[in-house]
């Protein structure tokens, strides 16, 4: 049995592998009718979904997406309807998912890193202007009452209003009021139905109260003319924004005459620095990276978090490997009784779900009530999770508990696969057991476990669960400009900056951090792949 990685699996696999000869023509038309029916059924479902998506995208005028969806759908149809292209038939389903949720996601992260996407900055400028106008709307005092019926079509609500002069108009949130001629009226002369639309009943109104009271229907194309809104679903009033938008100069002016200008970073700002919300997403170039590396109270934490990430990953691998190897040597004793029981119990921490382990230790290490302080240390209050250095220690300890069984398993395997003859030969030559281990067994063992150590390093580099469940990255560094703490690693920092509570969401900065991790991981894996030459053995 050989220790060298390449040996059996890949080797054995390559040996009998020859390109299968092209089958005779006659057999080629083996496509059964049943297969064809299934193919067509699945394809039609896919096409139906695609057509719907295309329709919706078309309405939203997302031309790029229309193109992509169309191209992919056509391609999939060709792949499955055309005879031949066999590999594509088998690869396509997985590739579609891979392309959307893995590759596109990475590319998209890269794009977000160059924007100011985040809380209050998540739409286009036109949307922002519209939202600002709507949220600043106030009911015009003594405005006329429009009698109202709420209609619905394809899940969208429409206002059908009869204005004081008796004219009937229809509009929705996307579509300013327009006159309609074909409508039905009730006994009071109020228009209450239009062909093709569903009239909402009183119960419907109650059920969708929120959506209907939030609805604002513009009176005309110009948002400054105001909009109709309804407080009760039966009458609408004219609402005017107390901010006025001037498209020529691209400014907002409020009633007191304050002017808000496009401040250049995705929001309207007044002279005095007051900002109108929401803003909009703009491309900020390298700003997020510049912020990360130059702003004093972000750069500091970022550097210490990066150092700790490396330290955490390295120390985790080192401690678990050391303990695992030690145990493997201890239990690598033929004929020792009870080995099986030891093994099963020692594997348990590894089998226990990772996220629960963190939470369980959270209770064990609790400063005031935890078992460790109360029972083992007899009521001492040792700040296991709240002191920066002790918290680091605790995280490593818990990760040791979680990870040593794995190392124990692989080291046992590697040790047992080292031929006994080597040890014998060395012993005959007069080597002492320690020398045998240090000079012969250990190097051989490293050859076989090195790739696993590298992937273990890479895993711990992004070991979100253990950190987040145990300390949440804390104790927090109060001087930091981002929510960073003593035990935060890069990936928890990304999560907290993007979705953290209390500090506002900054998707742009978080993505910039994610890109940073991406680059580090890429570098590490390129180097390690070179070292292990794993790629060269690919057949």
């Amino acid at each position: 049995m050989s220790i060298h990685p390449t040996a059996s699996a890949t080797g054995a696999a390559t040996a009998p592998r020859t390109t299968p000869p092209p089958p005779p023509r006659r057999i080629r038309q083996a496509r059964s009718t049943r297969g064809l029916i299934i193919t067509i059924a699945l394809l039609s479902i896919l096409d139906a979904i695609a057509v719907f998506a295309l329709f919706m995208l078309f309405l939203q005028e997302e031309w790029l997406l229309v193109g992509i969806v169309l191209a992919v759908t056509v391609l999939l149809n060709v792949v499955y309807l055309r005879p031949g292209w066999l590999p594509a038939k088998y690869l396509a389903p997985g590739l579609v998912f891979l392309a959307i949720f893995q590759i596109f996601v990475v590319v998209y992260s890269g794009y977000i890193a160059f924007t100011n996407y985040g809380d209050g900055r998540n739409g286009s400028k036109d949307d922002a202007i519209e939202t600002i106008l709507i949220t600043a709307q106030e009911r015009v005092p003594d405005s006329p009452t429009y009698r109202l019926t709420v209609l619905e079509q394809f899940g969208e609500y429409f206002f059908l209003v009869t204005d004081p002069e008796g004219e009937v108009l229809l509009g929705s949130s996307d579509q300013p009021l327009e006159r309609v001629t074909d409508y039905g009226t009730d006994s009071t002369g109020k228009a209450d139905s239009v062909p093709g639309f569903t009239t909402l009943t009183f119960n419907d109104l109650l059920g969708n109260q929120r959506a209907i009271t939030d609805l604002a229907v513009q009176v005309s194309d110009d948002p400054n003319d105001g909009a109709l809104r309804t407080p009760d679903g039966s009458s609408a009033y004219l609402y005017l924004s107390n901010l006025e938008y001037d498209a020529e100069t691209d400014t907002f002016i409020d009633r007191s005459g304050t002017v808000y200008r496009d401040g250049g970073d995705g929001a309207f700002v007044s002279e005095g620095g007051r900002e109108l919300t929401p803003g909009w997403t703009i491309n900020v170039g390298f700003d997020n990276f510049v912020t990360a590396f130059t702003t004093e109270n972000i750069r500091g934490p970022l550097i210490s978090v990066t150092i700790w990430t490396f330290a955490f990953a390295t120390l985790s691998v080192a401690t678990t490997f050391a303990l695992g190897l030690f145990l493997a040597i201890v239990f690598n004793k033929p004929l020792m009784r009870g080995k099986k029981i030891y093994r099963i119990i020692m594997i348990l921490p590894y089998a226990f779900p990772g996220f629960l382990s963190g939470l369980v230790w959270l209770g064990l290490l609790n400063e005031d009530f935890g078992y460790v302080n109360q029972v083992i240390f007899q009521g001492a209050s040792i700040p296991w999770l709240t002191d920066p250095w002790l918290a680091k220690f605790s995280v490593l300890l818990v990760n040791l508990w979680l990870g040593f069984p794995y190392m124990f398993l692989i080291c046992t395997g590697a040790l047992q696969s080292i031929p006994e003859e080597l040890t014998e030969a060395a012993t005959v030559d007069g080597a002492r057991p320690w020398a045998v281990f240090r000079l012969i067994k250990f190097p051989l063992l490293l050859v076989s476990v090195a790739p696993l150590l590298i992937s273990s390093f890479a895993f711990n580099f992004n070991n979100f669960n253990i950190i987040y469940m145990l300390t949440g990255g804390g104790p927090r560094d109060v001087t930091a400009g981002v929510d960073a703490g003593a035990t935060d690693i890069l990936i928890t920092l990304v999560y907290k900056v993007a979705f953290g509570e209390g500090t506002g969401r900054d998707y742009g900065l978080a993505s910039a951090f994610a890109i940073l991790i991406f680059l580090i991981v890429a570098t590490v894996s390129i180097i390690s792949f070179r070292q292990t030459k794993a790629l060269e053995e690919l057949n």
Binding site: G354, F369, Y371, V449, P451, L535
Partner: protein
């Protein structure tokens, strides 16, 4: 979804690349070079035994305490009626199943729903992963086409970048999708499963690819000559022959997706739709001390299926892999 760097998967890769290692890791399969057998009947003194084997048991006992204590502690806490963290420090003083009952009666924390959600999401993601992975592995193993080598390399590289790196983009992507298809947008379990399936091609495919290679091509050829179509060969012959690896990959991705937290926590916002990882975290992180024993009961129930699967899986992995690679 499987995390490429999940050590569990690492072991798989290891097992693939070095069957000798992992086979022995099982301690069962691979024919380990037999040590020179010392006749067991030979009697030695106690001192000899202590020096030779006894100290190993001593270390073993210490490790047993280290490994098993936190788990016993949770079990004890879950049976403790006191309810609080400080009360749980009396191990196994009283045995009471009240916490398990109370666990299912919390109005704000629908544990039963979380449990069902986790199982459903885990099973669907696992089934999808196995299916997509097996299709791709079949293509890579049985067909020769341009881009095959590049494809295999890509699979190895893609797994270096776990999906959680793109968590922000996933959130925004699902929000966008939700505007067109609310059924798979943000806040839906279907959307979450789709995201997990994005990780289906990766280390799992690689694992299956290795196993597919060990099934002789002559079987395919015989079937082809008998007039079977490629789909028929795949679904009725090959899939059956590689069942062990399908089970292994399925179980691995089940475990990975049931304990995934990051993506689940941003996609699933409504407590009724959440998974155990998200729900239990929020439950205990807010009021660690007060909710402790109920949380413990939840943790025991949540861990049971996974631990059981894992212990069962261990043998299965080794059995499946070594059986395949011995040829």
């Amino acid at each position: 979804m499987t995390n490429p760097f999940n050590p569990a998967d690492g072991e798989q890769i290891g097992a693939r690349l070095y069957p000798s290692v992992s086979g022995a890791a099982a301690g069962t399969a691979a024919p380990t070079p037999s040590p020179r057998v010392i006749p067991a009947t030979r009697r030695k003194g106690f001192l000899y035994w202590a020096r030779d084997t006894g100290w190993r048991h001593l270390i073993g006992l210490v490790m047993l305490v280290f490994a098993a204590f936190p788990l016993l502690y949770v079990l004890s806490a879950s049976l403790n009626p006191s309810g609080t963290l400080v009360g749980s420090n009396d191990l196994f003083r009283t045995i009471d199943f009240g916490n398990y009952v109370r666990l299912f009666q919390l109005p704000q924390q629908p544990f039963a729903a979380w449990f069902v959600n986790t199982m459903v999401i885990g099973l669907v993601a696992a089934a999808g992963t196995v299916f997509l992975g097996a299709l791709a592995a079949y293509a890579f193993s049985r067909m020769r086409f341009t881009g095959r080598r590049v494809g295999l390399l890509t699979l190895l590289l893609v797994q270096m970048f776990p999906q959680l790196l793109g968590v922000v983009a996933i959130f925004l992507l699902l929000t966008g999708i939700g505007e067109i298809f609310p059924a798979i947008g943000i806040g839906t379990q279907a959307g979450l499963v789709l995201v997990y399936l994005g990780g289906a091609l990766g280390v799992n495919t690689y694992l299956m690819y290795g196993f597919f290679n060990t099934v002789p091509v002559s079987i395919d050829e015989a079937a082809k000559i008998d007039g079977a179509s490629h789909a028929r060969i795949f679904f009725t012959i090959i899939l059956r022959l590689v069942a062990p690896i399908l089970a292994v990959v399925g179980l691995l991705s089940f475990i990975a997706s049931t304990s995934e937290f990051v993506i689940a926590s941003i996609v699933l916002t409504d407590p009724q739709t959440q998974t155990l990882a998200v729900g239990l975290y929020q439950f205990v992180s807010q009021e660690t001390s007060r909710n402790w024993t109920i949380f413990s009961a939840g943790a025991v129930l949540a861990a049971l299926p996974v631990v059981a699967l894992f212990l069962y899986l261990q043998k299965y992995i080794i059995g499946g892999l070594t059986a395949g690679s011995v040829k």
